[in-house]
């Protein structure tokens, strides 16, 4: 993989007549963590869905791992994993069976499943049908799904959502482990302070546009991190999100 893991140029996407992304441009170097912040409806999830090839952009260009998200979708998908708002799980299957499905489709064998379930703290509930799972447990299983894919580029859309405090720590551990393995991680979050400890880069979106910091610019220190947090925490936040 080249030095740039994700490159986005003048990307735009609309739903009907409303533009969800407008001329978004940024770069993410390989093996870095980028935090994408913004209010609800700012376009964060749409951006991730475009990068994961779930939807196509209307304008502009994006490459993931050097591959175009429109014309080389299969290649993008081979190295990308998306943790989306929808958990991509089958309600009537158990946690293990859900991961079996993923492993079978990836043709990677089922040996790693037990370890991944252990990693996300679901080993004891591996054989339970997930319709009995809480939202937090489903999120953990979604993480297991991502880990099983061993992706080079990881797109985490609200990874802390629905999790309890130990779950937050789990997310942090997973992100550190993925980064140590050389993966590039993009995550949207409202947990600004927490994510700022992990992020090398930050990107703020507002009404589908990049509003700061400068696209792809690294965070230079605590002051910048705090400013990013202040600017982005304008919307009502959960207690643990209250910053500055």
């Amino acid at each position: 993989m080249s030095d740039v893991a994700v490159e986005v140029e003048q990307l735009a996407r609309r739903y009907g007549r409303r533009w969800a992304l407008v001329d978004v441009t940024f770069r993410v170097p390989t093996a870095t963590v980028m935090m994408v912040t913004g209010r609800n409806g700012a376009g964060k999830s749409t951006l991730f869905r475009v990068l994961a090839t779930a939807i196509r952009p209307d304008r502009g260009r994006a490459t993931v791992g050097g591959f175009d998200v429109v014309h080389e979708r299969e290649d993008v998908r081979k190295q990308t994993a998306l943790l989306a708002h929808q958990n991509y799980l089958y309600e009537s299957l158990s946690a293990r069976e859900n991961l079996d499905v993923v492993a079978d489709h990836l043709r990677i064998g089922r040996d790693g499943i037990a370890g991944v379930l252990e990693q996300v703290g679901l080993a004891a509930r591996a054989n339970d049908v997930i319709s009995t799972f809480s939202a937090g447990m489903r999120k953990r299983l979604s993480f297991a799904r991502v880990l099983l894919q061993e992706p080079k580029i990881v797109l985490l859309d609200e990874p802390y959502g629905a999790l309890d405090p130990p779950g937050f720590d789990l997310v942090d551990e997973v992100i550190r482990a993925l980064k140590a393995r050389g993966a590039t991680i993009l995550m949207t979050t409202h947990q600004i302070e927490r994510s700022a400890q992990l992020a090398d880069l930050t990107l703020m979106l507002e009404d589908g546009r990049v509003v700061g910091p400068a696209a792809g610019r690294p965070l230079s220190g605590p002051l910048d991190r705090g400013r990013a947090a202040r600017e982005t925490a304008a919307e009502p936040a959960a207690p643990q999100e209250s910053v500055c």
Binding site: I55, Q86, Y88, Y90, V102, H105, R107
Partner: protein, 219 residues
């Protein structure tokens, strides 16, 4: 990849097996209602039994097919598989084969009901089995494609039959004719030509729908 898709489909079907029983009861009830429409005319009942069997199967199949994408849409699981990456053709054929098996089992299960209600017994059981297998293949392939197209619609149970029924008329007609010959006798040996016609439509459906599925599920 096809094996993985098929394994997943069969597992999902097994988990929702109670639904299969409900669909069978629906099909059997439809056959019973058809017999009420004809009245106590055993000759007429026997004459039209093949048509009633396939109408019952067709109506039941819309329930089965429409529900076959419910699990895929619940948490956008299908999108999750497509992003893995998976081959959309394998996903389609996995689901279409699983639907085919389910409809074939349903068809076979409705035969005794037909025999009892319409006095439509036959000695050509293997022939009848072959027709049911081929006929349900003709329902399953386009039915799975249209079920994918309508899966996100609120009125999918209504829209699916509207789209599906016109398309499968040739396969349905061939199935009814071939079944009728199996039950009423075939002194002129006409059943074979209907079975060949059915087979031809099956080939067209299974090849075309597999190609079109990617366009349906990929944005």
């Amino acid at each position: 990849m096809l094996t993985a898709a098929l394994r997943k489909e069969l597992l999902l079907q097994w988990r929702s097996r109670s639904q299969m029983m409900a669909v069978f009861v629906f099909g059997a009830a439809a056959l019973l209602l058809f017999s009420f429409a004809i009245g106590p005319n055993t000759e007429a009942l026997r004459t039209f039994s093949a048509g009633f069997l396939w109408l019952g199967l067709l109506l039941s199949s819309t329930l089965t097919l429409a529900e076959s994408f419910h699990a895929e849409m619940e948490n956008r699981a299908l999108e999750g598989l497509l992003l893995l990456p998976s081959n959309p053709h394998a996903l389609y054929y996995g689901k279409a084969i699983a639907n085919w098996l389910q409809l074939a089992v349903l068809g076979v299960a409705l035969v005794p009901v037909m025999v009892v209600l319409y006095d439509a017994g036959t000695t050509q059981l293997l022939n009848l089995l072959l027709i049911i297998v081929l006929g349900t293949a003709g329902l399953s392939a386009p039915g799975t494609l249209y079920a994918a197209m309508t899966a996100q619609l609120k009125a999918k149970q209504m829209i699916l039959p509207l789209l599906l029924f016109p398309l499968i008329v040739p396969a349905l007609l061939a199935s009814v004719k071939a079944t009728s010959f199996a039950i009423l006798g075939d002194p002129m040996g006409q059943a074979t030509s209907w079975i060949v016609l059915l087979l031809a439509f099956d080939l067209i459906y299974w090849s075309l729908c597999g190609v079109l599925f990617r366009l349906v599920v990929e944005e």
